[in-house]
């Protein structure tokens, strides 16, 4: 059931999948049962057939909007014209959730196509909070902020990542998108303590969970996990997800896949597994981390 709250549709606590262009025609034809769909905001800011297809799909599915280009950590503030485009998209699509990243990607008019890491400092926290405030004021709704996957650490970082995110949520009222795969990747690459992070993130703020696969690379004998969204969710990440559900409850969960995109049914199968775990939490059963 969709509960309406202040004009914003609330997501059902179910598992969804990231909708990617190669799957759109099949989604329209088959209309498979899946809780909801998430799209990248920037892919739908133009016009034409892909936007029309999404309009057709959202008659049957709840849609969440996941931005990748706001650059919430930009020292110079966010690009007002891009925010206007996001606002228009949100008004048109009536998404259940709107999310972005704890990262930056824009500097002096150049968009560097990556979710780039922020030094975790008081200054970065103040700047990001100011930018999040501006977005939430413009959109008139809560934004969920996703924890990043990290490959390096800054020497002058002073705040542990989960505390930085918790404080951002406290100052701005934003929600948190807990990407469980990112926690696992960052644990392997830069020593973030994933289980401890789950304990430090405020339960009330977590409004969405992301799950995805990662690549395991060998760089000169050092193991590096790359968050390429190009494989099934790893067993260790499923186990961490179970812990996340124990703490946060049945939170809407998304299966993301971007690299080496497989058949739609593979994504639906992963979503069905998440759905099974979500149902156990909703029935009140303590999900055992096997």
């Amino acid at each position: 059931m969709i509960v309406r709250d202040g004009g914003v549709r609330q997501p059902r606590t179910r598992a969804g999948i990231g909708l990617r262009a190669p799957h759109v025609a099949e989604m329209l034809e088959r209309r498979p049962p899946v809780g909801w769909l998430e799209v990248h905001a920037e892919n739908y800011m133009g016009g034409g057939p892909s936007v029309r297809a999404l309009d057709a799909i959202r008659r049957d599915y709840d849609i969440a909007i996941h931005g990748v280009g706001l650059s919430l950590g930009s020292a110079d503030g966010i690009d007002g014209s891009h925010l206007v485009r996001l606002h228009r998209l949100v008004e048109r699509m009536e998404p259940t959730l709107v999310s972005e990243h704890l990262s930056w990607s824009v500097f002096e008019g150049a968009y560097l196509n990556h979710l780039l890491p922020l030094p975790l400092t008081e200054e970065a926290l103040a700047i990001t909070a100011r930018n999040v405030d501006r977005v939430q004021e413009t959109l008139g709704r809560r934004l969920l902020i996703e924890n990043p996957s990290s490959y390096l650490r800054f020497a002058h970082s002073t705040i542990p990542e989960p505390i930085f995110i918790a404080e951002l949520a406290r100052r701005t009222g934003c929600g948190i998108l807990c990407d469980v795969n990112n926690l696992y990747v960052s644990q392997a690459n830069v020593g973030l303590e994933a289980r401890r992070a789950l304990e430090l993130l405020p339960v009330d703020a977590v409004g969405e969970i992301h799950l995805a696969g990662h690549a395991v690379n060998d760089a000169d004998g050092v193991r590096v996990l790359v968050d390429d969204h190009g494989a099934p969710v790893a067993n260790a990440v499923w186990r961490l997800y179970v812990l996340a559900l124990d703490r946060f409850g049945a939170v809407p969960t998304l299966i993301e896949w971007d690299t080496n995109l497989p058949a739609l049914d593979v994504l639906l199968g992963e979503a069905a597994e998440a759905e099974r775990l979500l149902e156990r939490v909703e029935r009140g059963a303590h999900v055992c981390a096997a």
Binding site: V68, A75, F107, A110, Y111, N113, P117, P119, Y151, F154
Partner: protein
């Protein structure tokens, strides 16, 4: 003075093929060397944007071979990084960049092939628009119709080239039969647009192309007609005008009545 700003300035330099020392100075050592860690980000930025350009310009890539295309794409990305995160808008400047790229100087037709590919890409993402009802224009008094200005479908690009770039494009599609294309079989006057869910490229006669180009640039119907007649005295203005409606290419018009005209 912002430490974050300094960090982001150093990263911008490092990620666009510049000196990485500034970005490396801030990083924690241990395990994988810091330059390898930074390289993960550099690699992603470079390859994702290069692959994007290849997807927009597949025929240019085929014509110059992939390795050279990769070199040209890297140079373009460093010189003209995306201005914003809507990446379907990225790459418009690539044809002009090819004009200035020294190794391409002998491939005079290459930038126009790129312009054709950009026009097709752009057409796909253009806004939908409703074709103009011909009865609306017919309602304007006949003697005032010449002063009307029209707006063409937003997906339309009017492109002219001294080279037969449409033939070159067709001959370089996957599975196209091996044919000899004479690059200097031009000039060609092309209209590229989306109709429904398909993008079309077609040749127009030079006067009809001039007529539509003038309308696109904001000329009145009379001014656009003069441009076409200057190329061909026998140009049939009425038929060409009717064809605009037949093609669903007009989406709006503006017209000042004589009474409103100062």
């Amino acid at each position: 003075m912002s430490a974050l700003r300094d960090t982001q300035a150093a990263w911008r330099t490092a990620l666009l093929g510049g000196e990485p020392a500034g970005a490396l100075a801030d990083l924690v050592a241990g395990g994988l060397p810091i330059d390898s860690r930074l390289a993960i980000y550099r690699h992603h930025v470079a390859t994702s944007l290069s692959e994007l350009l290849e997807s927009v310009y597949p025929v240019v890539c085929r014509l110059v071979d992939r390795r050279f295309f990769g070199y040209a794409a890297d140079a373009f990305i460093s010189a003209c990084p995306p201005a914003g995160p809507c990446l379907f808008e990225y790459g418009a400047g690539f044809p002009d960049f090819l004009v200035r790229l020294e190794p391409c100087r002998t491939l005079a037709w290459l930038p126009d092939v790129a312009r054709l590919e950009w026009a097709m890409h752009r057409a796909w993402f253009a806004d939908d628009a409703t074709p103009l009802d011909p009865r609306l224009l017919a309602a304007i008094p006949a003697d005032e119709r010449a002063d009307a200005r029209v707006r063409l479908d937003p997906s339309v690009t009017l492109l002219t080239s001294p080279f037969a770039v449409d033939d070159i494009w067709r001959a370089n599609q996957p599975g196209a039969p091996e044919i000899l294309v004479s690059a200097d079989a031009g000039p060609v006057h092309l209209e590229i647009r989306r109709h429904g869910d398909e993008v079309f490229v077609r040749r127009l006669h030079a006067p009809a192309w001039a007529f539509r180009s003038a309308l696109r640039a904001g000329s009145t119907l009379a001014e656009a007609g003069e441009r076409a007649l200057a190329l061909d005295e026998s140009f049939d203005l009425a038929a060409t005008f009717q064809a605009l409606f037949g093609d669903d290419v007009l989406v709006a018009f503006t017209h000042l009545t004589r009474r409103e005209t100062p």
